[in-house]
Amino acid sequence: MAASNSVLGLYDNPDAGANAMDGLQSAGFALGTFDVLTGTPYPEGAFGEHVPQHRLFRFPFFGALVGLTLAILFTAGTQLAYPVVTGGKPILAVFAMLIIAYELTMLGAVVATVVGIIFESRLPNLNLGAYDARITEGYIGVVVECEGDRVEDAREVLQTAGALEIKTA
């Protein structure tokens, strides 16, 4: 069942925000249901937050492989279809083919990376949940997505960690 409530705790101290994240995990909230909101990037894992896994690194490898394959098919196919001996070299001249192979391999990797970024970004999340404008001033927000019966639990954990204000959306 989809989460229906969003609870936000606002903190003026990053330590308190990190404590809230720890508290939520201890209280049994599943990883991925709570997150930290910041106005500037913090180092990965600074708040003990769930680090989303992506597979972007696979895309350039796949693109490069496709590009290399196309390059070999293209260069070998062309030379075999029109076998012209040039400078006494073999019909399938590897050093000449390497140039096209390099270009298409790089092109494939670049194009696949761009496609990968679009794919891995997924669709935009239209339900952004609770938010507070002070986050872009440097305050730390800890947001929990939960069912209605766990809202009070979440509020209690956020309050215990020292939240300045708690919002529900």
């Binding site: 997150d35 930290v36 909101l37 910041t38 106005g39 500037t40 990037p41 913090y42 180092p43 990965e44 600074a46 937050e49 680090v51 989303p52 992506h54 972007l56 670049v110 990376t113 761009v114 970024i117 891995e120 970004s121 935009p124 999340n125 239209l126 952004l128 949940g129 938010y131 404008a133 002070r134 986050i135 872009t136 001033e137 440097g138 927000g141």
Partner: protein
């Protein structure tokens, strides 16, 4: 000997992140001063004169040589505005903390690059076809170019498209880098700026995943921009200069052109920072450290200017063929010898002499002086190259038999409309950037906020230093 750290806490008088947000995203942030309004009106008037200059040039078209100053002005705009976003890319990739306040000014130059791409379209109607001498030489004979078997109007199609692609990539990078600041304006701004920011921020709430994707997009667009900048400089300089001059064969010239772009981009960013500090009220956020760091890069690129010029020149000097001698005469020792002397003085000797002194380089006022000299010198350089190239119309029979420019064209002096174009088109680009700063903070808010979180003013024995942590 004690092995404990020599670092102790220092006094921190930097503005807080709340103050920074109020200044760059809050109400009244983008209220233009009367001085700025006057400056923008002057730029608008100059831009209007520039447009008049283009129209008059079209109406009273005296031939290819009269378009040299227009080509030179566009080349200068590409050189200056095209190179500036590299300041937002290269130091960021190298995790240079000092570059944060300078990145926005550099990235906004892409707006002027987009204007340059639009202004290139009229010039393409005056760029000769690849078979411009076909009536004498036969239909299959082309002037030398990089478009061997392509359609005869290939450069006319590809050059604006490639330049437009550079602009689009640059604008995409500038936009991505500004998303967190749009979120701040959405949260703290008012009126039309807040409405625009709400749409442009696209639901950015600062989740870790959103920051991660933002960084990736900055990296990807930055890498693409660098590749495109090299490509644009290559095609632009070959098609609009080298291929128009019989006998000019130079593999180093595109890199010389690109290096000039780095040098001019640095200069533009230095002057932008200086102006923002002087008139934009951001002296607490940008100043000595940025000037010093950018000044060192400017000194390095100034030395490289000479290296690339000399590498190119010495090939012709030792080549000593008739074509090589003609090329040297056209570009260096012939009708533009005084211009070349000015280029050598302002693009190399003077900024080098200014910037070798530690006290000058390590000051807020020194690098801007060198930047002005460099921009003037590089503008003269583009005039030298492009005016000479567009005036080098060869004798048909001569071209048919030798491919050498034997009859040296006379010096092409600018008329009043050329002056309009030279002053007006860069003014139009600058006006576009200043208009954008009405919405986008001239200093990247989220980057200086991050800088504040990872740095700490400390005392090191009896001096004060900034302790920098680089976690990411």
């Amino acid at each position: 000997m004690s092995t404990s750290s020599l670092i102790t806490d220092g006094h921190d008088d930097r503005p807080s992140n709340i103050d920074a947000t109020a200044k760059f995203a809050g109400e009244g942030r983008t209220v233009a001063s009367s001085g700025l309004k006057l400056f923008m009106w002057i730029l608008a008037a100059a831009a209007a004169l520039g447009i008049v200059g283009i129209i008059v040039r079209f109406i009273d078209d005296g031939g290819r040589e009269e378009w040299g100053y227009y080509a030179a002005t566009l080349a200068f705009m590409l050189t200056m505005f095209g190179g500036a976003p590299m300041i937002a890319i290269a130091p960021t990739i190298a995790k240079a903390n000092w570059a944060r306040p300078a990145a926005r000014i550099g990235s906004l130059a892409s707006i002027a690059t987009a204007i340059t791409a639009l202004l290139l379209i009229p010039l393409m109607f005056k760029l000769p076809a690849l078979t411009e001498f076909s009536d004498v030489l036969g239909d299959d004979v082309r002037r030398r170019s990089i478009w061997f078997d392509s359609p005869i109007y290939a450069p006319h199609f590809w050059n604006p498209l490639i330049l437009a692609t550079l602009a689009v990539v640059g604008l995409a990078m500038a936009y991505v880098m500004a998303i967190p600041d749009f979120a701040a304006i959405r949260d703290h701004g008012t009126g039309w700026k807040q409405r625009w920011a709400r749409n442009l921020a696209r639901g950015f709430h600062g989740r870790p995943q959103q920051w991660e994707w933002l960084m990736m997009r900055i990296g990807i667009t930055g890498a693409l921009y660098f590749a495109m900048l090299l490509y644009v400089n290559f095609t632009f300089s070959i098609d609009l200069a080298v291929s128009l001059v019989p006998g000019w064969k130079d593999a180093i010239f595109p890199f010389y052109h690109t290096l000039g772009s780095f040098q001019a981009g640095l200069s533009f960013t230095i002057l932008g920072i200086w102006a923002a500090r002087r008139w934009g009220g951001v002296s607490k956020y940008v100043g000595h450290e940025q000037m010093w760091s950018l000044g060192k890069l400017l000194l390095a690129t100034t030395l490289l200017w000479f290296y690339f010029f000399y590498s190119s020149f010495i090939v012709f000097w030792y080549g000593r063929s008739q074509a090589d001698s003609s090329t040297i005469e056209l570009l260096v020792s012939g009708p533009y010898v005084y211009l070349f002397a000015a280029v050598f003085l302002f693009a190399f000797i003077a900024p080098w002499w200014v910037m070798i002194w530690n006290k000058v380089r390590d000051s807020v006022w020194g690098p801007p002086i060198a930047a002005v000299l460099v921009l003037f010198g590089l503008f003269m350089d583009r005039v030298r190259i492009y005016v000479a190239s567009w005036s080098a119309t060869p004798d048909d029979l001569e071209l048919a038999t030798t491919g050498i420019l034997e009859k040296m064209p006379p010096t092409q002096w600018p008329d009043v409309f050329d002056v309009f174009i030279m002053a007006g088109l860069p003014a139009l680009g600058l006006l576009g950037i200043l208009l954008a700063t009405r919405l986008v903070p001239v200093i990247s808010l989220w980057e200086i906020q991050q800088s504040r979180l990872i740095t700490k003013p400390v005392r090191y024995l009896r001096t004060r230093v900034l302790l920098v942590g680089k976690p990411d």
